[in-house]
Symmetry: C2
Subunit: 219 residues, 2 copies
């Protein structure tokens, strides 16, 4: 199926052109944009519920939600009081920059400090599609196994932060934190690795510190 390769390249190039346009918009409007990616069920929406609640007096935040179907996640996020827009990809395995550009119409960009993009739950395809973000953030649940950075290298190679979520379940699963961290650092020596629990709040203060610094360095 080598005939498809030039087409794939064209799709990626078209995506990158709009992503460049998005970066310009985010720079002008001084908005920090973060692209959250993970396998299904690793805790992206739970992280957002915590973050939007705990930092609501500090930043003006909004969310673009990507899912194949349902607006469940947008509803969960909106319950925190933050503005949320749902994109249903109808089977599509990632968000692309064109969808993000369209969604920006729903927000007042002059009233926004941080825009979170919650990508489709998928540890493969979203990694290839830049959506104009300042940083890619990957969540890995400890229930998925410590071998995932090695087996899905591209996602970890391009992420600024790996959040190891659900550490409250560590006593009940086999997960070697040091091995997962070492493999992620082999792919990306600068990646920040933060073990967290969105269930009980463990180490979220470190995630918030990172967010503050990322926001500060954007200004």
């Amino acid at each position: 199926m080598s005939a498809e390769i030039p087409i794939v390249r064209n799709v990626l190039e078209a995506n990158d052109r709009i992503a460049t346009q998005l970066k310009e918009i985010f720079r002008e409007k001084n908005i920090l944009c973060l692209n959250l990616m993970s396998s299904p069920g690793a805790g992206k929406t739970s992280l957002l519920e915590r973050t939007l609640t705990d930092l609501r007096d500090e930043f003006r935040m909004a969310v673009i939600e990507g899912d194949l179907q349902t607006d469940n996640d947008a509803k969960r996020v909106a319950a925190t009081g933050a503005k949320a827009v749902q994109i249903n990809t109808e089977g599509g395995c990632h968000l692309d920059s064109g969808q993000i550009l369209d969604s920006l119409k729903s927000f007042d960009l002059d009233e926004l400090d941080i825009l979170f993009v919650e990508n489709v739950g998928n540890l493969v395809c979203p990694a290839e599609f830049d959506v104009g973000e300042d940083h890619k953030i990957t969540l890995l649940s400890v229930t998925e196994g410590d071998d995932k950075p090695e087996k899905y290298p591209f996602m970890f190679h391009i992420s600024s932060v790996m959040l190891l979520n659900k550490v409250d379940l560590l006593p009940y699963v086999d997960f070697d934190l040091e091995s997962a961290t070492a493999h992620a650092r082999k792919l990306n020596k600068d990646i920040l690795v933060l073990p967290i629990s969105c269930r009980n709040g463990d180490n979220l203060d470190q995630w918030y510190d990172w967010l503050r610094k990322a926001r500060e360095s954007k200004k």
Copy 2:
């Protein structure tokens, strides 16, 4: 990006042509072929380790392993004594029928009762690519959340069996078995739902019974 739609259709049609060829081979050689799919880390390899060990005196079994990188899973499977072939997709988000056809050269098809295809860990893309299997089997770990059938409907719509794995972790997570089952059945009224634990062996006897019946009805 509507220009890509005809190309996508061509790719799927090419895949389906080879899948039809594979079905014919499996029929002639009387091999039951099962396509195992799930999110990363839901327990496909653990299920195979158990199954290949527990039924080794009953069936002649082999595995085709799909991963972006590494041959870790093929090694785990080979440690049970079963023949295993590893496909590295180098970033590709699913296995296709051409890769399966190529891999068949590694096996003596006259000495095989059941062929397992362990697909790339991804709850989206593998659903669209028939690899000539008799049944699609989806694993869902209870740590991923009970909303996944509703949010990733296509995968559950086309699967004969949904294995709800890691039920040993049910006391520590919020997962409504009835809700997950109801949503899966709404998408596919005939889907068999089996709560299992590959860690402690819970209910694997029911999975083995299903395998025996599937093998029997193939003959």
